[in-house]
Amino acid sequence: MDATTKPLRIPPDMATYAEKHDIFELFQTLVRSLVVDKPADPIQYLIDMLKRENTDVPRVMLLGPPASGKRTIAKKLCEQIGTIHITASNILKDDSDLSRAALEYTEKNQEIPQDLWIKLIQQRLLKADCVRRGWVLEAIPKTREEALCLQEAGIAPEHVVMLQAPESVLIERSLGKRIDPVTGDVYHVAFMRPESAEVAQRLERPQSLISEDVIYRQLQGFHREAHALQRTYKNCLKIVDADQAHVDVFAQVLTFILSRHRSSAPYTPRILLLGPPGSGRSLQARLIAQKYGLVNICCGELLKAVAADESSMGELIKPFLESGRRVPDSMVLQILTERLSRLDCTTRGWVLHGFPQDLEQAEALQESKFSPNRVVFLEMTDGVAVEGLTLGAIDPVTGERHSFRLQHRLRESEAEVQKKLQQYWRHVEALQAFYPQAVRVRADQDPHTVFECLESTLVDRLPKVLPDRA
């Protein structure tokens, strides 16, 4: 098969498939585990790993000074995502030779030797439930040494969250900290009271934090190591301010953990810009296409071009365009798929705006081979949109509004604009439900700001979606 007589066409389905299933990340994980574990039979090891289907589990380290709320956040996170919560005491409670040896050391009040401790952690993390559901390590590692040993053993978290708060707050919290011996939940005398009186009666003070001096020394010890730990995990670190209400802290931590790091997978963007007329869609599309070399497809203009083309399809749609009626969905879809399947679109990617306008069109687009991988809703209030359309157009160069300078679009009367807006608002709810992973951007800001928001959604990966837990 000569490449010149029959040129190779890679069907775009392959790229869609690879993107949908995150093939690149999967392979990265596989190769990484191979390099770290060095199994005797690599093929069988890879097969087992693929069968387990757990390559995308959360792996989180939660660090922070004492009394910053790590226990609370860790517990909530484990409940929400379904991972295993691991603390220093948890590991020692396991029943195995290593843990028994470690317990001996604690009984004598000595430090557990580093390698034994690392082996214990490794053993715990290699258990089936951690492998299947992911893990949250709370307050491990404590020192840079421990962190380096963990790294050498191949244990690397995906996200590291470090909680931070001013010292006074921490000291106050430590003094008022109370622990429920039954469940292990942490409450505070003033800030976080337990809900039931029964629990309130059970609370007792923790043994380690007793006086302000002890607390202060512990804080100092933490700060000595904090900087080094931050340096160790600087690639996947996020520092969260723990001085807020713990629901806010939790929300921030959760968003961070659900986000995914930038990947080096090859990626052709297929972007769908949806928004009310007058939100600046065509402008944004043009900017994006210019910057990233994508193909800019405006549905209306495409139809006009085809009509002017004197092809058979053009003859069919001419009467619709001339009379101002809406062209039927099947024809639009046909023209669109034909355009999207051309070589330049499949290789460079595309930005589409002006289609779909309602749910049936969206479903038809999804079923064809050209489903988008980023969907953006530009949100704008009606007043601003009307103003933009009737009073004049925005000059893309200077970004200012010019009252009488027209662009390619004709000036429209207010009634027509209202009609279009109403049509949009009728369908937008259904469309938003159809694309659950769409990003919403406020479109009434400066166009460059809007453009930057769009860029960030393009370049970053989509965040993980939590499975529905009934």
Partner: protein, 327 residues
């Protein structure tokens, strides 16, 4: 039975009372003597279903005992009437009763007056005398020849004219006819045979022609079938070839795509591992884990020594100053 029966002739009030236990009615024993059995205590009872004394059937038309001992007057009158009638009948019958028995079957009585024929019966039968005298002896005449009686019938025949059968004259026509017929038959048969033979010959010729045609047709059919099969096979082959080509094109596309897609795999993995600290610079690590702690401890001990020395110096100076002051 003594146990079953418990009569009790007097009750406390003096009236006669009888009561007995219910017991089944005793049957008459067929073969055994009841007196013998009664000495024993076993009780014999019978099945009333088979007891002849029990009234069976519907009782609507049965003669029941009259309610009272006096007969019913209507019944009585009826019976008297019946009796009177019977008597009258009997008297009438007597009048006509015959003295002689009835005639048996097949015969009839006839009344005959035998007065005319009466005879007097006496003891002396009538007798009359007769005499006879045989001739003097003669010689027996010569017995006649015994000629047995004629047993058969006398029959005579006479051959008339024209009754004799002359073979030549008689048989000739028949023979001629026979022979003629036979010859005719033979001729017919021969003709038939010839006809048959010619028919068969014609048939054979026809069959041969037909066979030849059939063979020809078969040959053509075979040819056609072979053509068709060949065509189908060729088409299938071609389709397979196309399919193979398509599969190969897909495989190649997939391979090229995979290569392209995963071109950056290894470098990115190594980068990740380096970022995660799995690939570390051993020299740096060694310095950090080995050298720097040692350095810190050494510095610590040096500083401690310095501190001790300074404290000692301080105490010395203090002591010297104190002693100087005292002297």
């Amino acid at each position: 039975m003594a146990s079953a029966l418990q009569p009790y002739n007097q009750d406390p009030n003096g009236a006669y009372v009888f009561s007995s236990r219910p017991r089944p009615a005793p049957t008459r024993l067929k073969y055994k003597d009841p007196a013998v059995i009664q000495n024993e205590e076993s009780y014999v009872y019978g099945n009333i279903m088979y007891d002849r004394r029990v009234v069976r059937g519907n009782t609507y038309a049965q003669h029941t005992l009259p309610l009272r001992s006096q007969p019913d007057p209507a019944e009585l009158k009826k019976q008297q009437e019946a009796r009177r009638r019977a008597l009258a009948r009997k008297r009438a019958k007597e009048q006509f009763r015959l003295l002689t028995p009835e005639a048996p079957e097949g015969r009839k009585h006839k009344d005959v007056q035998t007065e005319l024929y009466l005879e007097e019966l006496s003891d002396h039968p009538e007798d009359a005398s007769m005499g006879c005298q045989t001739d003097a002896f003669l010689d027996e005449p010569a017995t006649p020849l015994f000629i047995p009686a004629k047993s058969g019938k006398d029959v005579a025949t006479q051959i008339e004219e024209g009754e004799l059968f002359y073979f030549d004259t008689e048989v000739q026509p028949v023979l001629e006819v026979l022979i003629g017929k036979t010859m005719e038959q033979a001729l017919l048969e021969v003709l038939e045979e010839e006809e048959l033979a010619s028919l068969r010959a014609q048939q054979r010729a026809f069959q041969e022609l037909r066979n030849a045609e059939i063979v020809e047709v078969q040959r053509l059919e075979e040819q056609e079938r072979r053509h068709r099969e060949e065509k189908v096979r060729r088409l299938k082959q071609q389709r397979e070839v196309l399919e193979n080509e398509r599969v190969i094109a897909e495989k190649i596309a997939a391979r090229v795509f995979a290569q392209q897609y995963l071109a950056d795999l290894l470098p990115s993995v190594y980068n990740t591992l380096r970022d995660q600290g799995y690939f570390y610079d051993p020299v740096q690590r060694d310095i950090e884990t080995g050298f720097l702690p040692w350095l810190m401890t050494e510095v610590d001990s040096a500083l401690k020594k310095r501190e001790i020395v300074l404290t000692m110096l301080d105490t010395l100076i203090y002591d010297v100053a104190n002693s100087r002051q005292e002297t």
